[in-house]
Amino acid sequence: MADLKYKTPLLDELEKGEWPSFVKELKRAAAKKPMADGLLGQLEKSYRDKQTYWKHGGLVGVQGYGAGIIGRYTALADQFPEVTAFHTVRINQPAGWFYSSKALRQLCDIWDKHGSGMLNLHGSTGDFVLLGTTSEELEDTFTEYSAAGWDLGGSSSDMRTPSCCNGMARCEFACFDTMALCQDLTMTYQDELHRPAFPYKFKIKIAGCPNDCVASIARSDLSIMGTWKDDIQVDQAEMAAYAKAGKDIQGEVVGMCPTACMSWDGKAMKINNKQCNRCMHCINVLPKALRAGKVRGATILVGGKAPILEGAQLGSVVVPFMPMKAPFSEIKELIQKLWDVWGENGNNRERIGEFMLRVGVGNFMESIELAPDPQMVLHPRENPYIFYEEYFEEE
C-alpha cells in the first residue's frame, strides 16, 4: 500500500476485529485518492478530540436541479486541504437495490475519476451515496453519470428518493409489485424529486407486506404496505408436514397469534379470519403452509418521522385498503391531494405528520377527501374538547 500522508493510530485500532472495517476501506481509497487520505487525517483528529470538524454545507448543485447534492466543507482547511470541499452526490438507486456487476463497475469508474473513491451503499433514504467531491467537479460528474443512464436522487424540501423492499422479485410474501410501484412513482414525480418546492422533505417507502422490511412506517412520510382483505390460504397437507417434522404449532404459532383467532387440533388449522389483524406472524413461521389471501392491496399510512422537530411519529392509517395495480392511479391521486393540502398550508420545515396533528387529523382527512373510518384510530377519542361544526340556531 502506498504511503499515506496522515498517521492514524486511533483509527488503526478499527482495522482489528472480524467485522469488515471502514478504515481499511478508507485506506484502500486513500492509496489512490488524496481526498480519502485527507478524510482519514481529519477523522483521526475527530477521534482524538471527540468532535466533528465538518461545517454545514452551503448551496451547491448542478444546473437544472435543486437537489441531489449536499454541500460539505471542512472547518480545518489549513490542516486538511484535501477535504476543503467534500460534497455528497446522491444517485437514485435502482428499485430494490438490484445491480449488475457491469453497472456497479461503471458507477465506480466514474466516481474514481471525479471523487474521493468512497461511498455509502446505501444511504438510509435509499440512494447510492457518493461521498466527497469538489464544487468544480460536480457538473462533469453528473454529466458522465447522466450519459451512462443514471440520475440524481432527492435532498432538501422535495420528494426524497422513493425506496422499496425486493417484493415479488424474491419474496413470496409480497402482496403487490413493490418494485414496479417504486419505479413508477420515481418516474412520475421526477420534477418533485429534483426541484424542491415542498414545505419540507417527503419520503415514500414501499413494503410488500406488514413485515415492513424497509421500515416504511418509521422512516417515511408515506408508507405503502402490502396486505390482504380475504382469508389466509391454508395448505392443510403442508400443515401436517410441519407437524410431522416436529414444529410446535400450538406453542410457536397458535399460542402467539395476537388475536387468538387460530386453532389447531393436530390435524387441521382453523383461522377465524374476521378476527385476524394481518400481523404476519403465522405466515412467517409456517411459510409453506400459510399464505396471504387472494384479495391483495396495500394499507396506506401517513406521517412517519424521526423526532425533529415535534417528536417522533409512526405513520398512521389513512386508507386501510387500496388496490395496488398498474397504472397505480388511486395512490397517485392520494399523493397529489396530500401534496396540495400540505404544500398550501404546511409551515416551513413542517413534516406532513406534524401538519396533520396541528390542523387535527379529522380536518386533515376531510381536506384530502377521505371519509372518517374507525380503521384510522385505535379507539375513538377520550378527550371531550370537541369543536362542533353543526349546531341549531334559534328560529
Binding site: 472495517s21 466533528t52 444546473q63 469508474d109 473513491g117 458522465e144 447522466s146 443512464g149
Partner: protein, 359 residues
C-alpha cells in the same frame, strides 16, 4: 473528457428489470416459499420448482470503489453478474446453483467478509454519517458500528437469538438512521446548549431564521456590544442542533459532554405486536473512541440478558413488555433514573395509571 453536447435531465434510475438474475426474472411474482439452508443462506422456491439461493454478506456500508469491484467480481464468478443490497446495507448474492454456495462463502472469507444476518440473528447496523461526514454529530457512527459488530459477530454469523435483533446507530437527535424503532438503538447525544459566537453571528447567520429554527423557542434575538446576535435559554434547549444548521456560529460539539444513550425495545414489523418506539435504557455513556468499551459492554449485556430470558419469536420489546419494565431493570441491573420518566409532550401516556403492579 469530451462531455456530451447536451446533458439529459430527469431520466430517473435505470429500470430494475435489467438487473435481475435470469431465474429471478423468470419467476418474478411466483415465489412459493422459502427455507433456511444455514446461517446467512436462504432458498426461495418458485411455483414451477425453480430455486434461487441467497447468500447474505456483511458490509461496512462506508466502502471504497475497490470493495464494490470485489463484490462485482464474485457476482461474475458465481451469480451470472447480478447482486443486490439490503435495506440494512448487507450485500446479497443470488445463485441458482447450490454448489456455488460454499465456494462463494470461502471467497468472501478470503476478503474478510462474513456471511449471516438472516432470521434470528443480529443483522447489519443501520447508521448515519457521524464524524466522517456530518456537522452535528455527538459521536461517530461508523466506528460504533464497527466495534459493536466486532463484539456481536457470533450473533451475526449464527442464528441463536429468540428472534431477530435489529440495532441502529444515529449520531444526533435528527436520527437520519431512524433509530427510534429498533430493538437496540445507540443515539449520539449532546448535553449542553450551543455556544454562541457573538462576534460571528452577524456575518454568518440570518437572525430571524435562526430564531425560528429552534423547535423549543429557546433562541431570542439580542444585542451585545452594539452587535446583533442571539441568546439561548439553556433551560429550554434539548440539544437538537437545528440552530447550528441555520447558523454556523452556534456550534454544539462539546467533547467532554457529548456521548451515547442506549434505547431498547422498538420494532417496525407488525408481526404479533404493533410497531413500537424504542425506550430509554441508559441515558448516557461517554464517548471513548476508538473502541467505545462502555458502549460495547452495555450492548453485549443487553443482548445476553434478552437472549437468556425471552421466549422463541419474542422481539426485545415484546419480552420487556411481557415481563414488565420494572423486571427489565431488575434483570439487567440498569439504574432507573429520573431521566427515564418522560417530561415532554404526551408524557402522561407513558405513566402507570393503574394499581396493576408486579412485585
Amino acid at each position: 473528457m469530451a462531455a456530451p453536447a447536451k446533458r439529459q435531465t430527469d431520466i430517473g434510475p435505470p429500470h430494475y428489470e435489467q438487473f435481475l438474475h435470469p431465474v429471478i426474472k423468470k419467476n418474478y411474482g411466483t415465489w412459493k416459499y422459502h427455507e433456511s439452508i444455514k446461517p446467512g443462506v436462504i432458498v426461495h422456491v418458485a411455483e414451477g420448482g425453480d430455486k434461487i439461493f441467497t447468500i447474505r454478506a456483511a458490509s461496512p456500508r462506508l466502502v471504497s470503489t475497490d470493495f464494490v469491484r470485489d463484490l462485482a467480481n464474485l457476482a461474475d464468478k458465481y451469480c451470472e453478474g447480478y447482486l443486490r443490497f439490503t435495506s440494512r446495507n448487507n450485500a446479497e448474492f443470488m445463485t441458482a446453483e447450490q454448489k456455488n454456495i460454499d465456494p462463494l462463502i470461502a471467497d468472501l472469507a478470503k476478503l474478510g467478509i462474513p456471511v449471516g444476518g438472516m432470521n434470528n440473528s443480529i443483522s447489519n447496523i443501520v447508521h448515519t454519517q457521524g464524524w466522517v461526514h456530518c456537522h452535528t454529530p455527538a459521536t461517530d457512527a461508523s466506528g460504533l458500528v464497527k466495534v459493536v459488530m466486532d463484539e456481536m459477530i457470533d450473533y451475526f454469523k449464527h442464528e441463536k437469538l429468540p428472534a431477530k435483533l435489529r440495532i441502529a446507530v444515529a449520531c444526533c437527535l435528527n436520527m437520519c438512521g431512524a433509530v427510534h424503532c429498533s430493538d437496540i438503538s445507540l443515539l449520539g447525544i449532546h448535553r449542553r446548549p450551543p455556544k454562541v459566537n457573538d462576534a460571528r453571528v452577524t456575518d454568518l447567520c440570518e437572525i430571524p431564521t435562526t430564531v425560528s429554527a429552534c423547535p423549543t423557542a429557546a433562541i431570542r434575538p439580542a444585542v451585545k456590544d452594539g452587535k446583533q446576535t442571539v441568546t439561548v435559554d439553556d433551560s429550554r434547549c434539548m440539544y437538537c442542533g437545528n440552530c447550528y444548521t441555520s447558523c454556523p456560529a452556534m456550534p454544539l460539539a462539546n467533547p467532554i459532554n457529548d456521548g451515547v444513550a442506549i434505547w431498547v425495545g422498538g420494532k417496525v414489523s407488525n408481526a404479533r405486536s404493533m410497531p413500537a418506539f424504542t425506550k430509554l435504557a441508559i441515558p448516557y455513556l461517554p464517548n471513548n473512541p476508538p473502541r467505545w468499551p462502555e458502549v460495547t459492554d452495555a450492548v453485549k449485556h443487553l443482548v445476553e440478558v434478552y437472549a437468556k430470558n425471552a421466549v422463541k419469536h419474542e422481539r426485545f420489546g415484546e419480552w420487556a413488555n411481557r415481563i414488565g419494565w420494572p423486571r427489565f431493570f431488575e434483570l439487567t441491573g440498569l439504574e432507573f433514573t429520573k431521566y427515564h420518566i418522560d417530561d415532554y409532550k404526551l408524557a402522561q401516556k407513558t405513566l402507570r395509571s393503574t394499581a396493576q403492579i408486579k412485585f
